[in-house]
């Protein structure tokens, strides 16, 4: 008999599982409720003898599984179909057949977790401490002992009568179990609590570091735990190198040499110079054709139009943006009748495109020479069209032109039909001078600034 604390209960031992069942039935029939049987394996039939109600665990597991199913479907829908839709092999973004396996796995996973943790929770385990553990006999319950314990707190408990009941039921031994007189032995030792708290805190450190990194800035280079491709055995442009006497990784062009295909000897084609002067014509390599004009139009619209505008009047989106910001700046008007650009020889125009002028940068590194010549050609077409007269239109095309302006000059010209391609219009739009636009197709805008 251990200790002298309060009486916790009595523990009876039986020889066989069958006798344990009989004893359990008798104890239950005697009206006890705070009793339990202990055995090395689940004894078949004892649930009914003890009157144990079926556990609600299956219901919990069903709930867990349902949550897993829903979670799995939502996860895949939200990530792949809603938050970051992504076309893979032409499959629908929300591909239910392809989402079945993962939804199935999450269902199983959550069911399993619920089953496992739910079972321990309903069993109130882990609980390392129990009064019965103080009895040596109880140590054999995991080996060969079939025990029945009745707690003293049961309202029918009576030290003598209960013991007698257990003995009558065939117990081979009955002993009393007392609580440890020291109440401290019934609480968790301080060092275990300390260990749990400190290990939990320790485990949270990486998460804290990650959280901090997400919410702060640092000028320090990040730590390369795994270098991956961050550091490659190669030189970047203008890097230093010990390999060469000049300490530079860049190797310049050797003196007196020209790289293959970089001679560019043709002055007219590459520089717009013919006989020491700006050429007036076009290089002989180029065939002047509508195709070249169209090519020039495309290149012009890409590279030139942002400043000079689609119509060449110098009021592209960039000047407009300046105006919107309250400033005033226009690019050069390329098409002004009698203006400097109209008068410029082709070669000079080419040179301007290549090397820039005033604040305009050169485009030689972006636009190949043939395309620059195409832009020159298109600019000429633009100049012609922007300053054209009705006579310029071929006779057979004339009939096809919608020209309301000609019949009714007083009407607000082009209010409906003319495309608003050139909103140069800080100037009030005066009644339009008839100005058909044959090639470039932009609408009439008579006012020259």
């Amino acid at each position: 008999m251990l200790g002298d604390g309060a009486l916790y209960g009595v523990l009876a031992e039986y020889d066989t599982p069958g006798e344990l069942i009989e004893a359990a039935r008798k104890v239950r029939d005697a009206g006890y409720t705070e009793f339990d049987c202990f055995s090395p394996f689940p004894v078949h039939g004892i649930d009914e003898a003890m009157g144990i109600k079926r556990t609600i665990l299956p219901l919990l597991i069903f709930g867990g599984g349902f949550a897993g199913l829903l979670g799995g479907i939502l996860l895949q829908w939200w990530t792949n179909a809603y938050n970051w839709p992504w076309n893979i092999a032409g499959k629908p973004e929300w591909s239910i057949p392809a989402n079945v396996p993962i939804a199935f796995e999450t269902t199983i996973l959550l069911s399993v977790l619920t089953a496992f943790f739910g079972m321990w929770m309903l069993n109130k385990l882990p609980q390392v401490w129990h009064p019965f553990f103080r009895l040596e006999r109880f140590g054999r319950v995991t080996d060969d002992a079939f025990l029945l314990g009745i707690e003293a707190r049961d309202r029918r408990f009576d030290s003598v009568a209960t013991t007698q009941l257990l003995k009558d039921a065939g117990a081979i031994a009955v002993e009393n179990c007392h609580l440890d007189p020291d109440p401290a032995s019934r609480t968790m030792p301080g060092w275990i609590t300390a260990f749990i708290v400190s290990s939990t805190a320790f485990a949270l450190i990486p998460f804290a570091i990650a959280a901090k990194a997400r919410n702060s800035h640092s000028s320090e280079p990040h730590i390369h735990v795994f270098p991956d491709m961050d550091f490659q055995p190669k030189y970047k442009a203008d890097a230093a190198s010990d390999l060469f006497p000049d300490g530079r990784a860049n190797r310049g062009q050797l003196a007196e040499t020209v790289a293959r295909g970089s001679l560019n000897a043709d002055d007219t084609f590459y520089r717009g110079i013919e006989g020491g002067k700006w050429t007036e014509g076009f290089p002989k390599q180029l065939e002047i054709s509508e195709q070249l004009v169209r090519r020039g139009q495309i290149r012009y619209n890409i590279y030139c139009a942002p400043c000079h505008g689609y119509d060449g009047r110098g009021s592209g989106p960039v000047p407009q943006r300046v105006a919107a910001g309250g400033g005033a700046w226009d690019a050069r008007n390329l098409v002004q009748a009698g203006g400097p650009v109209v008068k410029m020889p082709n070669g000079q125009l080419f040179n301007t495109i290549s090397n820039g002028y005033n604040t305009m940068m050169g485009y030689a590194h972006q636009i190949p020479p043939a395309d620059r010549w195409a832009i020159v050609l298109y600019t000429r077409a633009l100049q012609r069209s922007q300053n054209a007269a009705v006579d310029d239109v071929p006779q057979e095309e004339l009939g096809r032109m919608p020209m309301p302006q000609m019949q009714t000059p007083a009407a607000p010209a082009g209010a409906g039909s003319a495309a608003p391609a050139a909103p140069t219009g800080s100037a009030p739009a005066a009644p339009a001078t008839p100005a058909p636009a044959p090639a470039a197709g932009s609408a009439a805008q008579p006012e020259n600034k």
Partner: protein, 461 residues
């Protein structure tokens, strides 16, 4: 037959239970480990070292150290992955499916088989991780909010693998651990009785204060049954998902609808072979012959025979449908398997998986432990070749003859495979020495003595 209760002399039933505890605990309590055990552990750790070195070279150099090429992009790595995963499935089958179908003979082997599952899945998981080339980014496969605001691509079968294998791993560990708790409590009580305090505390913490209460057993049994019910479709799904890795593609020889059940049958087949390979020597070594009985081994041989036949049926079906379909590529793929450059692998597969297990028709063979061991090794080899045949032959001869190629493994392919065998062996041997190797509480519950005593006056039915 009458309803007479089984009568035992007083104390006899308890004696029988005690004997089980003693014999199982002896494996862990023997003061000195067996020499053969030490030797096996040494060999396993040496193999593990080879694997570690192979991984070191792989990580510092790159996937190029393997024999994989542009044509044969999946080779030994994925073969080994599928092989190991398949081996793991037998453990779940024994612990869950045989439990549901009330095959009580499973109790003698389920603990070891479940441990085998966990270790096999660990080995399996290694291969796809290493095949990514940068395994330290493996966590990218899990859905998490990241800087790039991108999510995993859930329509990919490879993502299904991530979920299936990790769910399988979790479930296997929990199922195994749950089964262990009552037995760990036994170890706890034995250590406490002998006065080994530290061990008692460790086993005590692990056994969660289990005290064999009938109220606890009630929920425990429900949970166990439901976990078995969940593990059964899970084990089907895991190998089906693995088979989807291949079958969702359009590659002839991979794209066939029978793959899911066929892979599952193959998995069970190889897994049972592995269980026998492990348990036959250990049973001999640790005197467990009266617990892991001859009948149990015979039953496993029969399962080997049955699953071997299923695999054979699947081979035949594939061939028939390849002809029936009229698909040129499909037909070529199968002719190439049997008669192409990898004919030797196909030959090994068919002979090891279909022909050799036919020996199990004879009781004489099913009772000859040495012969069973040898046949099981053949089955292990055959099932490895099955995956290799599916993966390598189909890739090496795909649609464009210009890309055709041949696969030859490098020493790092082989080294890593040996390494996983070593890892598996090491873990399994350690398990055998330190953990209750047989589910004592389940064995006791399945003994005739579990129904001992007590006239069943008030018994229902």
């Amino acid at each position: 037959m009458a309803t007479e209760p089984v009568i035992y002399e007083p104390g006899k039933a308890r004696e029988a239970f005690r004997a089980v505890t003693r014999d199982v605990a002896w494996v862990a309590e023997a003061p000195k480990p067996h020499k053969a055990w030490l030797g096996a552990l040494g060999v396993s750790m040496l193999m593990l070292a080879i694997g570690v070195y192979s991984i070191f070279v792989l990580l510092t150099t790159g996937i190029g150290v393997w024999g994989n090429s542009n044509t044969v992009g999946w080779a030994w790595d994925i073969t080994n992955f599928v092989w190991w995963i398949g081996i793991g499935h037998a453990g779940t089958l024994i612990s869950a499916v045989l439990y549901l179908t009330r095959q009580s003979w499973r109790v003698s082997i389920n603990r070891a088989a479940e441990a085998m599952t966990i270790f096999a899945v660990m080995c399996a998981g290694l291969f796809p991780l290493l095949h990514t080339g940068r395994p330290w980014f493996a966590w990218w496969m899990l859905p998490h909010p990241n800087d790039m605001d991108m999510w995993p691509q859930f329509r990919s079968p490879l993502m299904w693998d991530v979920f299936a294998v990790s769910t399988y791993m979790t479930t296997s560990i929990l199922f195994w651990y749950m089964g262990l708790v009552p037995d760990l409590a036994t170890f706890r009580d034995r250590c406490a009785a002998r006065g080994e305090k530290l061990k008692a505390i460790i086993y005590g913490a692990l056994s969660l204060g289990w005290r064999g209460s009938a109220r606890n057993w009630h929920r425990y049994e429900r949970a166990y049954l439901i976990l078995a019910g969940l593990a059964t479709p899970l084990v089907f799904s895991v190998h089906s998902v693995v088979s989807f890795d291949f079958a969702t593609s359009q590659l002839p020889g991979w794209h066939t609808t029978i793959f899911p059940p066929y892979f599952v049958a193959g998995a069970i087949f190889s897994g049972f072979a592995m269980v026998l390979t492990l348990l036959l020597p250990l049973r001999h070594l640790f005197n467990l012959k009266h617990i892991i009985k001859e009948e149990h081994i015979e039953a496993m041989c029969k399962i080997l025979l049955a699953t071997g036949m299923m695999v054979g049926l699947a081979y035949a079906t594939e061939f028939f449908i390849a002809w029936y379909s009229g698909n040129l590529y499909e037909k070529f793929a199968f002719v190439n398997r049997a008669f192409g450059p990898f004919w030797w692998a196909y030959f090994a597969m068919v002979s090891c998986n279909v022909l050799i297990p036919q020996a199990f028709w004879f009781k004489m063979v099913r009772r000859n432990v040495v012969l069973i061991f040898i046949l099981c090794i053949f089955v292990n080899i055959g099932m490895w070749f099955e995956r290799f045949v599916i993966i390598a032959t189909s890739l090496a001869r795909s649609f464009l003859p210009a890309t055709w190629s041949y696969f030859t493994p490098t020493i790092y392919d082989i080294g890593l495979f040996i390494g996983t065998l070593g890892l598996f062996g090491t873990l399994f041997l350690l398990f055998f020495r330190y953990v209750p190797v047989i589910a004592m509480s389940e064995v006791k519950g399945a003994m005739p003595e579990a129904h001992a005593g007590g006239p069943s006056k008030g018994g229902h039915h």
